[in-house]
């Protein structure tokens, strides 16, 4: 025991820790840099880049670290690169860690909800803004435990540097054992030293998890709540504690009940005369969206089959039709979230997919960055079925963030605009809440506020109420109704809410098989469909509720 304590405090071994940490730090830092490059290459849309990255991964993940160490130390000098031993060990460790770190990064990036990425694109974010503001902040949170593992494994793997004369902890321990014959005392001591180091990594990991915990501020989680993760016998204890914190937090359901109802002034309901007047006004307006002969296929399946559609400024068009009839794809084309095979899409007179300069398409697709800029300048807002709010941002930031990142507003202006819009959708009291603490209806209202923030010329709504519980549908529909009636916003809504379409839409277009098979004034088409397919669809949808008579 006294020998054990002697070796535990021996400066010779403690100095070895320093070398061990140097090699580990070089390995992790280098591995992170290389891993970032590798992950970027693997996620790249250029095949040759991802091919090179895959080749690297195969080689460096598939060969033992000990060989890589010997290679960096003994083979590189033959081509004139003579690194000091610690640097050679750090290089080998970095090259070895890189593919593992790259896979972690890739998994983290791909793990971020695709819907949020689409929402970011729809808001006109360029790929780099999207990565920095939406993907990375969320991916990093999920990657911390994996990083902790990787750091511990790198720390232990650094012991292999002993084969290339790096005087780290393991090499010092074996040398000491050889000269003193105190084999076990020495290895128990060095084992304990390694445990202390890996334990420290564990604490750092938990501290980071705590710092990045989105609930830290709102739920008052303390670092002390995390520490028991290090102690296996207290795990159960922790679970109950965290559960308690969850319970004491304001319950979403209760909160939803408390929210102010959005009153619907009856006078806003449109009468037949209103409708006629409205139709006459709209007919004189400019064309907002013009789709001509749009065709798109996914492999053998034709999704859009020469579709034509014109939407005028201030007009509200409801797209109806069975699933797979092309409604969503059409909306995604209008926002250029999808490319199409042939045909044209014009928004506000500007033809999408073509450079501003006006010359003819040279056949090359625009870069994602150019498309993003196009979206931002054309001004098409989009609301999704699954809300797709940015999960790591508060309601206010969901609205204000894109205004700053895409449209260059100052923080003050962006926040003012966000507050104003949240007020309009009746959520100013929830501005600081994270999406996951909001009900579905509240989330969709925030999503609408976010889409409205840059003052779009057209708002696209892709089945905005389909993912909502029935009791939450009305609060969202009411917001949309007001946008149509009060604000005169141009909207294209794909929906299954026949009654809502009847009330709000100026026109309905019925899609089937990628074309519009019937369209016309909403009430007319919904009450007297001419096309048998439309009639059948409507009768199925409306078996229990006929379109409400317009007063």
């Amino acid at each position: 025991m006294s020998l054990f304590l002697h070796y535990l405090s021996l400066p010779y071994l403690l100095e070895g820790i320093e070398v061990t940490l140097q090699v580990t730090a070089l390995g992790l830092a280098g591995g992170l840099m290389l891993g970032l490059i590798l992950a970027w290459m693997q996620l790249s849309r250029f095949r040759w880049l991802s091919g090179i990255a895959r080749g690297y991964t195969v080689i460096f993940r598939g060969t033992p670290l000990i060989l890589q160490m010997v290679f960096a130390y003994d083979a590189l000098p033959h081509i004139g690169i003579k690194l000091p031993a610690i640097a050679a060990a750090g290089l080998a460790l970095a090259c070895n860690e890189a593919p593992f770190i790259a896979e972690m990064l890739r998994a983290g990036v791909l793990g971020v909800d695709r819907g949020q990425v689409t929402a970011g694109q729809a808001l006109g974010m360029t790929p780099s803004v999207l990565m920095r503001r939406v993907i990375a902040p969320q991916a990093i949170r999920t990657m911390i435990p994996a990083f902790g593992n990787e750091a511990v494994s790198a720390l232990k793997n650094s012991s292999l540097a002993s084969v290339i004369a790096v005087q780290e902890l393991t090499l010092r321990s074996t040398q000491l054992a050889s000269s003193t014959f105190d084999f076990f005392s020495i290895f128990f001591a060095s084992g304990l030293l390694y445990l202390v180091l890996t334990g420290a990594v564990g604490v750092i990991q938990l501290a980071l998890e705590w710092l990045l915990d989105l609930d830290r501020a709102s739920r008052g989680r303390k670092f002390a709540d995390y520490l028991p993760y290090l102690l296996p016998w207290r795990r159960a204890d922790l679970a109950t504690k965290l559960e308690l914190t969850e319970k004491t937090a304001p319950a979403v359901a209760a909160d939803a009940a408390m929210q102010p109802e959005i009153p619907v002034p009856p006078s806003r309901r449109l009468t037949r005369e209103d409708r006629t007047k409205r139709a006459a006004t709209i007919a004189r307006n400019n064309v907002a969206v013009e789709v001509k002969q749009l065709r798109k296929r996914y492999g053998a399946q034709t999704v859009l089959d020469g579709l034509d559609m014109t939407v005028r400024v201030g007009e509200v068009v409801a797209l109806l039709g069975p699933s797979g009839s092309g409604k969503s794809t059409l909306l995604r084309c209008v926002n250029h979230l999808e490319n199409w095979d042939s045909g044209t899409v014009r928004v506000g007179g500007r033809r999408l997919g073509f450079q501003d300069l006006g010359f003819q398409d040279d056949g090359k697709p625009l870069t994602p960055r150019a498309i993003a800029n196009e979206r931002a300048s054309v001004g098409v807002g989009m609301v999704f079925q699954q809300f797709n709010l940015f999960g790591h941002l508060t309601a206010r930031e969901n609205v204000a963030g894109p205004l700053r990142w895409v449209h260059g507003l100052t923080k003050i202006d962006a926040d003012r605009r966000a507050n104003e819009l949240l007020d309009r959708v009746g959520l100013s009291h929830r501005a600081d809440a994270l999406p996951r603490h909001l009900s579905g209806g509240q989330q969709q209202r925030v999503a609408i506020a976010r889409a409205l923030a840059p003052n779009p010329s057209v708002l696209l709504l892709d089945e905005p109420t389909s993912a909502l519980d029935p009791e939450l549908v009305n609060e969202v529909l009411e917001v949309i109704r007001r946008l149509a009636v009060d604000d005169g916003l141009t909207m294209i809504i794909s929906t299954h809410q026949i009654r809502f379409a009847d009330e709000v839409a100026d026109r309905v277009a019925f899609l089937s098989g990628g074309t519009i098979i019937e369209e016309g004034p909403a009430h007319e088409v919904l009450s007297n469909p001419r096309n048998p397919v439309t009639a059948r669809f409507l009768s199925v949808m409306e078996t229990d509720k006929a379109p409400e008579a317009v007063r």
């Binding site: 010997v70 130390y73 003994d74 000098p77 084969v163 010092r172 074996t174 040398q175 050889s178």
Partner: protein
């Protein structure tokens, strides 16, 4: 008076300590103020001054000595101060350095990596109780300086009745270090054992002495054949559990390995070794480290093209 008898250990990290080669030489030879601060009446002998004049290329340089520091008596860290390496080979290297005017730093590698480290240029010289064989001479040139006597380490009482590297090892498990010359010698027993209808000996390969000795202590191996002094040291450290079955002569010499592409360096080291041998310093070093005086041998060259 020999410097060695003063028992000055060399720092692994701060190798430079002035020492003196040969017998006491009259004052009047070149003495620097620096030398005077370290020890009285220390001066480079005339022979070294002449050698430095003839081989000036390494004067003032710092060279790297690759060692496998797991052999107490030859090269191991100092248990009292683990920042230093001590042993016969360490002293010998320092003395060569002093004579030619260079300092040494140490690079600890596994035994099997000694010559690759030299060949890759990561080290300039290897003085690490390595036996000079024709096979190894393909990778480096050797200046031989010591005869080889091997000891056969076994568990106390020699339960397997091993009497040397012969058919008494049939069916036994031998622990050896990767790259040791004893490895092929044990392998050569396999056909002999077969011819006598006995089970083959098995080999366990480790990468340092401590692991080989632990293999016997743990009952995994029956024997470990290595330099007799190493074996004696192991028995000294574990008198209740280990013993030396026998000492055997191995037809090799211990050698200093130098790069094949530096004949001038080989020539210089060889010349210094002749001086050290002739002056009696080598014998004194053996005595200092309690090694068998019979190891003493006139330096020779082993090169293979």
């Amino acid at each position: 008076m020999h410097k060695w008898l003063g028992g000055e250990a060399r720092r692994a990290s701060l190798p430079w300590r002035r020492a003196v080669l040969g017998a006491v030489v009259a004052a009047g030879f070149v003495t620097t103020g620096f030398l005077a601060t370290i020890g009285a009446a220390q001066a480079a002998p005339a022979a070294c001054a002449a050698l430095q004049a003839k081989y000036p290329d390494w004067k003032g340089k710092t060279l790297v000595n690759a060692i496998n520091p797991h052999t107490p008596g030859y090269e191991a860290i100092d248990p009292k101060d683990p920042s230093k390496y001590v042993g016969f080979d360490i002293d010998l290297g320092e003395e060569i350095g002093e004579c030619l005017g260079f300092k040494l730093t140490y690079k600890a590698v596994t035994f099997a990596a000694l010559l690759t480290t030299l060949a890759s240029g990561q080290a300039d010289i290897v003085i690490s109780d390595i036996y000079a064989t024709e096979e190894r001479a393909k990778a480096a040139d050797f200046i031989t300086y010591s005869k080889v006597f091997d000891g056969v380490l076994v568990a106390k009482g020699n339960p397997k009745k091993i009497t040397g590297i012969n058919t008494s090892m049939c069916g036994a498990a031998a622990a050896e270090n990767t790259g040791f010359v004893e490895v092929p010698l044990v392998q050569a027993l396999i056909p002999q054992c077969k011819a006598e209808g006995k089970p083959e000996p098995t080999l366990q390969l480790y990468d340092n002495n401590a692991n080989c000795i632990q293999a016997i202590l743990a009952g995994r191996a029956d024997t470990y054949v290595n330099d007799v002094n190493t074996v004696d040291n192991a028995v000294k450290a574990n008198p209740a559990t280990l013993e030396k079955a026998i000492a055997v002569t191995i037809p090799y010499s211990v050698g200093i390995a130098v790069p094949k592409d530096k004949p001038k360096f080989r020539e210089a080291v060889m010349a210094v070794m002749m001086e050290i041998y002739k002056s009696g310093d080598q014998a004194a070093l053996l005595k200092k480290w309690e090694l068998d005086p019979n190891n003493l041998k006139e330096p020779g060259l082993l090169t293979v093209n």
